[in-house]
């Protein structure tokens, strides 16, 4: 118990520093790339003086560190700012309407945009993890228990094929074959949960080879640990040693993999896949925000992703040290 308090206090403090550092990095990068957000908000028809005034009003001409300080202050109060582009009623406004002034109160709060899109993404990511674990765990364990024999090679070849399929291409093939041609599953947009299946499959294809490799390697190396053969001399069956000990100890590398690689991988792939399927999740929100240079949304999603990675890793480390007490974090 004391260890848990010690652990979480230390790790959350470290995590907070990481998140702030990443936030500063993204904040700075966004402001040094070419393209004035004021132009995007107000459209090309607005005169230079009006644009300059609006920019000053929004604080976009202050030094970056001042802007960042102001931003962090707001974030701590739960305010991630308002979208530059999206109106509160939904839909993107942009400069096309030719408004001469920028009315901030008419724009959607970033936190609301994220709150509406996040559940869709969680559904998609959860489904992807479920599918990939359901396929990769049995395959990986089977390969690991038969290291060097044909199941191991089969798993390796299968993984090699899956890992070399580009997700953009695979998504298009799925849409064309499974949705357009066969009509088995819906593909574009979202009306009910079945719309998440195809994009989840694309994500799973990316995850499966990584998990299979990790599981098979750790199962086969754990199987070679002396305690496994000694256990059988002690009178336990091989089956018992595998179920109660080998699989349990193999879960540590898997947890680490899921924490570090898989979450990162899914975060990255989510943007592509949601855009491809026009799936209304956080990835689509992000992609559109990037196209529109909608800084507040980009910043907020980046900070959330980073925080999610940090938290997942802390949980993974805690789970690992609980399973294997030799690990010190």
């Amino acid at each position: 118990m004391l260890f848990a308090i010690d652990f979480f206090t230390r790790r959350l403090a470290q995590g907070a520093i990481i998140v702030v550092a990443i936030a500063l990095l993204i904040f700075t990068l966004l402001r040094v790339v070419p393209g004035d957000p004021v132009r995007l908000m107000l459209g090309p028809m607005v005169s230079a003086t009006v644009a300059e005034e609006t920019a000053k009003e929004l604080g976009l001409r202050d030094p970056i560190i001042v802007q960042f300080g102001r931003y962090i202050g707001q974030v701590l109060q739960g305010d991630f700012g308002r979208s530059f582009v999206r109106s509160a009623q939904g839909g993107s406004t942009g400069g096309s309407r030719g408004e001469s002034t920028f009315d901030a109160s008419n724009r959607a709060p970033v936190i609301d945009l994220i709150a509406t899109t996040l559940p869709y993404s969680l559904l998609l990511a959860g489904l992807a993890f479920l599918i990939s674990l359901a396929v990769a765990l049995p395959l990986g364990i089977w390969a690991g228990l038969n290291a060097g024999k044909w199941p191991d090679r089969l798993a390796l070849y299968l993984s090699s094929i899956l890992v070399s399929l580009p997700n953009v291409w695979l998504g298009l093939v799925f849409i064309f074959l499974i949705s357009a041609k066969a009509g088995w599953l819906p593909a574009i947009g979202y009306q009910n949960w079945t719309y998440a299946i195809l994009p989840a499959l694309v994500l799973a294809v990316e995850l499966i080879p990584v998990i299979v490799r990790s599981v098979s390697v750790s199962v086969s190396s754990n199987l070679l640990e002396p305690y496994v053969s000694v256990g059988q001399i002690r009178g336990l069956t091989r089956r018992r040693m595998i179920i109660a000990h080998v699989l349990r100890n193999s879960s540590i590398p898997l947890l680490n993999l899921l924490g570090i690689q898989a979450v990162g991988l899914v975060l990255g792939a989510l943007f592509v896949v949601e855009y491809l399927f026009n799936y209304p999740g956080i990835g689509l929100l992000m992609i559109n925000a990037v196209f529109q240079r909608d800084f507040p949304i980009i910043q907020a999603i980046a900070i959330f992703s980073c925080a999610a990675l940090v938290v997942v890793n802390i949980l993974v480390d805690f789970a690992s040290t609980t399973i294997d007490r030799r690990l010190q974090y």
Binding site: L2, F3, I5, P226, I233, G235, L236, R240, H245, R248
Partner: protein
């Protein structure tokens, strides 16, 4: 050779082959016959490669590919184990025939508490037993093997146990089902001598209480001498001799056995062959290395307290002087701080406190430039000859490396120096351009020695340098060290756990216990008249076939050294000392002069001998 009682296990004509990848076969065991009776302890001795581990596993019918049984039978109470169906064999193996291996550290799942794992086994081989019943039985046997506070240790993980305690846990695991045969494969080999002696004593007591027959496999005759009734000698997979223990040692019949016994190093029946001066030190000799009240500790995370660290006290106030031309032996068991001390002496680490003076200069606080200059004069040789040599450099280049680092010599001079040094340590000059791959352990160690010698050092620190080598190679290198000493007047510090080697070559011996020097004395005094109870306990525990002046029943108590994180007040040895009295619990004894050049950190010395004299930090010889 007649054995009373009923035969439990009778092996006849057992042959086991190793199937090689090409399909060829190499015999590992050839026509082995043996039998064990009720209550008998049968010792099996064999060198590495004699097939003794394969034999001990074959005895529990555990022959797995690439090994195959070629013939013979193992009958247990008249039933041939080879004919039993696998599941019947499986339960018999855990329940009636138990096996303990030589590596206690990796025998159990490191992530599950030990109590849970023993219960798991108990329930697997005795399906009817309830969890609470199993738990009670495990606790009872944990208590029987004298593990302190068994109820608490039941919930601890394997890595929280020392090697000796873990071996006790495995004895519990083996005996909890009350088997009638126990196969113990070299179980004391990785343990320190005092711990190994405790385990042997424990096993003897348990054998009596549990009425278990034991097959005790070992590579040390001294160990078998302490426990076995009869000894069977295994060489090259064949049984060459079987006799009662005493008569085997006194009157070996087979040539192999005779050579084996003759080659065993002796402690008390042998004379030192060192070239170092006898123990009395005259005032004219120079102090080359002076260690003055040196401390070193390390921090680890404390799980029980918030944001806290535990401090492991590895070396706690060590002082001694080494005179030019001395062979100082530093002995002690694992965890006594001798490796930390070697890192401090060779200045791989700086002490937290205290001074280490090499020819009057404090190496602990020397700048890197000056330290580099001084390093020419003292060199460290480590145990592992494989990882100490870069595999991608030619041997000549490796030996030349120190000369290049220290500079000042032309390429030609370097080549000449390397050649003459190689010659001196017994490496053929043709090896100069070869890579070290394929060199034997002994040859590699010679490369290490040459690399150190090429700088003409005055002091060599040998940290278990010869421990990885076999008897013969060890003898050759000791001769080499002696020659180098004669020619160059080198001083040696031997850090070792091997008491017979120290007896042979060292003129002075420092015995370390829990980060301190417990006794510092000349060779004769250390081995024949030690003053510190720990030295006597250590000597009593050495496995030997000769007559020992100190007896384990008197000098060796139960228990292990205290945790270096939490050292009790008073004398740190008092928890294991048979002579401890009131004062030992409160006063921490300093090294005190006994006589001449002999010192011991024990209150009994000051009580027994004339006036106690605390050791001066600067000059060990006193006023």
């Amino acid at each position: 050779m007649s054995v009373g009682g009923t035969k439990i296990l009778d092996v006849s004509g057992l042959s086991v082959d190793l199937v090689m990848s090409g399909g060829g076969r190499r015999p590992i065991l050839h026509n082995v016959d043996l039998s064990v009776s009720h209550n008998e302890v049968l010792g099996i001795i064999g060198e590495s490669g004699s097939g003794k581990t394969v034999l001990s596993r074959a005895l529990v019918n555990w022959i797995s590919p690439p090994l195959v049984a070629k013939g013979g039978k193992i009958s247990y109470h008249g039933r041939n184990l080879f004919d039993l169906p696998p599941d019947e064999m499986q339960t018999l193996r855990g329940r009636k025939i138990a096996y303990i291996g030589s590596d206690p550290g990796s025998a159990l799942d490191p992530t599950v508490p030990i109590g849970q794992q023993i219960i798991e086994k108990l329930r697997a081989v005795e399906p009817g037993i309830s969890t609470s019943e199993a738990r009670a039985r495990v606790l009872r046997v944990l208590d029987a093997v004298r593990i302190p506070s068994p109820a608490q240790r039941f919930h601890e993980f394997p890595f929280q146990f020392s090697g000796g305690m873990m071996q006790r846990v495995l004895i519990v695991d083996a005996l909890v089902t009350n088997p009638d045969l126990l196969v113990a494969d070299n179980i004391t080999q990785p343990l320190d001598v005092t711990v190994a002696a405790q385990i042997l004593r424990l096993l003897r007591d348990l054998q009596r209480d549990f009425n278990t027959a034991i097959i005790f496999v070992s590579s040390a005759l001294g160990v078998l001498n302490d426990i076995a009734d009869n000894i069977l000698v295994l060489a090259d997979g064949r049984v060459v001799e079987r006799q009662q223990t005493r008569s085997l040692i006194d009157k070996p019949e087979h040539n192999y056995t005779r050579n084996l016994i003759a080659s065993l190093p002796r402690i008390w029946e042998a004379e030192p062959v060192t070239t170092a001066p006898a123990e009395v030190v005259d005032d004219s000799r120079e102090v080359i290395l002076s260690v003055r009240d040196v401390y070193r500790s390390y921090e680890t995370k404390d799980r029980e307290r918030l944001f806290a660290h535990k401090v492991v006290q590895a070396v706690r106030g060590v002082s001694f002087d080494v005179y030019k031309g001395d062979n100082l032996g530093i002995v002690g068991e694992s965890g006594c701080g001798k490796s930390t001390l070697s890192r401090l002496l060779s200045r791989l680490e700086a002490p937290n406190r205290g001074q280490i003076l090499f020819k009057g200069q404090d190496i602990a606080h020397l700048g890197s430039r000056k330290l580099l200059d001084l390093r020419r004069r003292f060199q460290l040789l480590l145990q592992d000859p494989y990882n100490a040599i870069p595999p991608h450099l030619s041997i000549g280049r490796t030996i030349a490396e120190p000369l290049r680092i220290h500079g000042g010599l032309s390429t030609k001079e370097i080549a000449e120096k390397v050649a003459s040094t190689m010659n001196e340590v017994g490496l053929r000059t043709e090896l100069t351009d070869k890579l070290p791959v394929g060199l034997s352990a002994g040859q590699r160690q010679r490369v290490n020695i040459a690399r150190a010698m090429v700088l003409d050092p005055e002091l060599l620190i040998l940290d278990e340098t010869l421990s990885a080598l076999d008897q013969v190679e060890q003898g050759k290198l000791l001769d080499l060290f002696e020659r180098l000493q004669n020619r160059h007047g080198i001083t040696y510090v031997y850090i070792s756990h091997d008491l017979s080697m120290v007896r042979r070559v060292c003129n002075r011996v420092a015995v370390m216990y829990l980060g301190r020097v417990a006794e510092l004395a000349g060779n004769e005094a250390t081995f024949f008249d030690p003053a510190h109870p720990y030295t006597r306990a250590l000597l009593s525990a050495v496995p030997a076939i000769e007559h020992k002046p100190y007896d384990t029943t008197t000098y060796l108590l139960e228990g292990e050294p205290p945790d270096p994180i939490d050292i009790p007040p008073g004398c740190s040895f008092r928890t294991r000392c048979p002579f401890a009295f009131d004062r030992c619990a409160t006063d921490d004894p300093m090294l005190m002069k006994r006589s001449g050049e002999d010192f011991a950190a024990c209150h009994l010395v000051s009580a027994g001998h004339s006036a106690p004299m605390t050791m001066p930090a600067v000059n060990l010889r006193g006023p």
